[in-house]
Amino acid sequence: MSDTISEIKTGGERSLAKKYSQLLARQGILVAFVLFLVVFSIFSDRFLSTDNFMTVIRQASIIGTIAIGVTIVVIGGNLDLSVGSLLSFCTVLVVDLHDKIGPTGAIGLMLVFALLIGAVNGYLIGYLKLNSLIVTLGMLSAIQGITLIYTGGQNVDIQNQEGTWFAFFGRGYLWGIAVPVIIFLGLALIAEFVLKATTYGRKVFSVGGNPAAAVFSGIRRNRMVFSTYLLSAFTTACAAIILGSRVMGSQNNVGQGYELLVLAGVILGGTSLLGGSGSITRTIIGVLILSFIQNGLLLLGYPYYAQWLVTWAVIILAVWLDIASTRGKIFTSFS
C-alpha cells in the first residue's frame, strides 16, 4: 500500500517541473535558437529580413550538407574528421575535370573517387575496427596530400562560368529558392526519413547504441559502419558540387577546418558522440545556430573572432542543458 501512495505523491509534486524540464530537454536547442533570432533582430535591423535569412541558410548549406553524413556516422558510434580534406579533394576534382571531360563526367568521376575514399575509411574502421578518431585524422592528412599532388598545388578554375549548367548547383534558383538550400534540405529530409523510418536507420542506431548487442542480434556491424562512411563521403561530395559551382574554382585547402565546424554543428544539435542517439533535424538547427551567430555578430559590427567566443559558450551550454535534463540535476554528483 504505502509504496504506491508515496509513488503517486512524489509523482504529483514532480510532474510540473518534470514537464518543463522534459520540454526543455527535448526542445532546448529550439528554444535557444529562437532566443538567438530574437536577440539579433532586436539589435540589428538588417538581421530580420528574408534576404538575410536566405543568405545565411545558403551559406550554411555546405556545412549542413556535410553534417548530414557526419551525423549518421556519429549516430553509428564513430567520428569523421576527414570530411574537411575530402571536401577540398572533391571540389578540386570536380572543378578541374569540368573543363576536361564536361560536367556530367566530372560529377560522376568525382563521386566515384569520393565513395572510394569513404570506402577506405569504412574498411579501416568498420572491418579492421581501428579507432575512428585516429584513422580519420590520418586520412585528413593523407587526402590533403593527395589533393595537392593531383593539382601540383595549383588553383583550379572553370573557364566558361556563364555557359555551363554546372552553375545551377551553387548559383541557381528553383521556385525562388536557392538550389544549395534545396539540395541541403532535400538531403536532410531523405536522411531523416531513412534514419527514423527504415530498417537501415534502425540498424545504424542499434550499432551505435550497443555494437555488441547489435551483432548478437544478427546485424552486421562492420557493414553498417562501412556504409555510414560511404554516406558521409557522399554528402561531402554533394557539398563539393555546391561549393565548386558556387565559386567556379577551387583552392587546395578550401575545406580546411570544415571538419570541426561540422562537428560543432552536430554536437550543438545534441547528437551524442557515444553513438546511438541524435537526429538530422537537430543537427540542422545546430548548424543554423552557428551560421546565425556568425552572421548576426557580423551585422552587429563585432570583429569576426567574437563569434568564436560565443560559439564556445553556446556549445558547452547547449550540451550541458541536454545532459542536465536527462540527469535531472544541474551538476554531476561525484566529487
Binding site: 579501416l124 585516429i134 584513422v135 596530400g145 558547452i316 550541458w320 566529487s335
Partner: protein, 320 residues
C-alpha cells in the same frame, strides 16, 4: 640477462613505437649523410620539444580518459602574453603570467568537465575555438616580438653543448614519468581512466583529480608556448594551430588508449621522437611536402593497425 631480454620484449609489445623509431633511424642513416650527426639529434630534440611538452601533460589527461583539444590555442595565448607583457612586467613575471594563463584555462576546462558532466572532447573542442578567439581579442590580430634578445637567446642557448630546450624537455619527461608511474597521483590517474566508477566508489576524489590533470595539461601547453616563443623571439596569434592533433597523434602512437586507463610517458616520448625523426628525415631526404602529408597520414594508420595486431588476443576475440 633473461630479464633484460624479457623487458626488451615487453617494451616492443607494449610500445611497438620504439621498434618503429629504430627502423626509422636505420633507414634514414643509410639514406642520408647528415642524419647521424650529433647536431642533427640535438636539432630533433629541440624541434620535438614543443609538441613533446604539450604531450607530457596531455598524456595524463588522456590516461584519465579525457582529452584536451584546446592545448594549441592555450599555447598561443601563453606565448602572446609572455612576449607582449615582458616590456611592461619584465621577462620572469611575463613568463609567469603566461604559465598561469595555461593553468587557469586548464582548471576551467577541468571544472566544466567535472561539474557539468559534458564530455571532455566537447568541452575542449569549444575551448579550442573560444580560446583562439581570446588570443585574437587580446592580440587584435597582431604579432608581438621580444625587444630583448635575452629572451630569444634562451631559446638557442645550450648547457655543456646540449641545447637548453632539449635538456628541459628530457628532464621534464623524466619527472613526469616518475610522477605517473611512482606517485599516488599518477597511479590514481590510471585508476580514474581505467574505471571511473570504481575510482569514485573507492573514494578517490575524481573531480579534483581530473581538474589537476587538466591544469597540468594547461601548464605544459603554456610552457610549450613559451619555449616556442623563445625560439622565435616573437608570438603570433596563429601559433600552435593543429598542434593538438600532432600531440594526440604522438601520444596514441606511444600506446596511450583513447579510452583511457593505459599509456605511459615512455611511450609518449617514443611517439614524439618518432614524429620528429620522420619529419627531420623526410626534410633531409627532401621528400616533397605534398608527399609528406600522405606519408604521415598513412604511417599513423599503419602504426595503429600494427599495434592492434600485436596486442590483440585472437582467441578471446569475437567475430563482431
Amino acid at each position: 640477462m633473461t630479464t633484460l631480454a624479457h623487458k626488451a620484449k615487453s617494451l616492443v609489445i607494449e610500445q611497438p613505437i620504439w621498434l618503429f623509431v629504430a627502423a626509422c633511424i636505420v633507414v634514414f642513416s643509410l639514406s642520408t649523410e647528415h642524419f647521424l650527426d650529433i647536431g642533427n639529434f640535438k636539432n630533433i630534440l629541440v624541434q620535438t620539444s614543443t609538441i613533446g611538452l604539450i604531450a607530457l601533460g596531455l598524456t595524463f589527461i588522456m590516461i584519465n580518459g579525457n582529452i584536451d583539444l584546446s592545448v594549441g590555442a592555450v599555447l598561443a595565448l601563453a606565448a602572446c602574453l609572455a612576449v607582449d607583457l615582458q616590456s611592461s612586467l619584465g621577462i620572469p613575471l611575463a613568463v609567469a603570467v603566461g604559465l598561469l594563463s595555461g593553468v587557469v584555462l586548464g582548471a576551467l576546462n577541468g571544472m566544466i568537465v567535472w561539474k557539468t558532466g559534458v564530455d571532455a572532447f566537447i568541452v575542449t573542442l569549444g575551448a579550442m575555438i573560444g580560446v583562439r578567439g581570446l588570443v585574437f581579442v587580446y592580440t587584435e590580430e597582431q604579432s608581438f616580438y621580444a625587444s630583448d634578445f635575452a629572451y630569444s637567446d634562451f631559446g638557442v642557448s645550450s648547457i655543456a653543448g646540449i641545447p637548453t630546450l632539449a635538456i628541459m624537455f628530457v628532464v621534464l619527461a623524466a619527472i613526469m614519468h616518475w610522477v605517473l608511474s611512482r606517485s599516488v597521483h599518477g597511479r590514481n590517474t590510471y585508476a580514474v581512466g581505467g574505471n571511473r566508477q570504481a575510482a569514485i566508489d573507492a573514494g578517490i576524489r575524481v573531480g579534483p583529480h581530473m581538474v589537476i590533470n587538466f591544469m597540468l595539461g594547461g601548464f605544459f601547453a603554456a610552457l610549450a608556448g613559451i619555449t616556442l616563443s623563445t625560439q622565435m623571439g616573437a608570438a603570433t596569434p596563429n601559433l600552435g594551430r593543429d598542434f593538438e592533433l600532432w600531440a594526440i597523434t604522438a601520444i596514441v602512437l606511444g600506446g596511450t588508449k583513447l579510452t583511457g586507463g593505459a599509456g605511459s610517458i615512455v611511450g609518449t616520448f617514443g611517439g614524439v621522437i618518432a614524429i620528429g625523426i620522420l619529419r627531420n628525415g623526410m626534410n633531409l631526404l627532401q621528400v616533397p611536402s605534398f608527399y609528406v602529408l600522405v606519408i604521415m597520414g598513412t604511417i599513423l594508420i599503419a602504426v595503429l593497425f600494427i599495434d592492434r595486431q600485436v596486442n590483440r588476443n585472437a582467441e578471446q576475440e569475437l567475430n563482431v
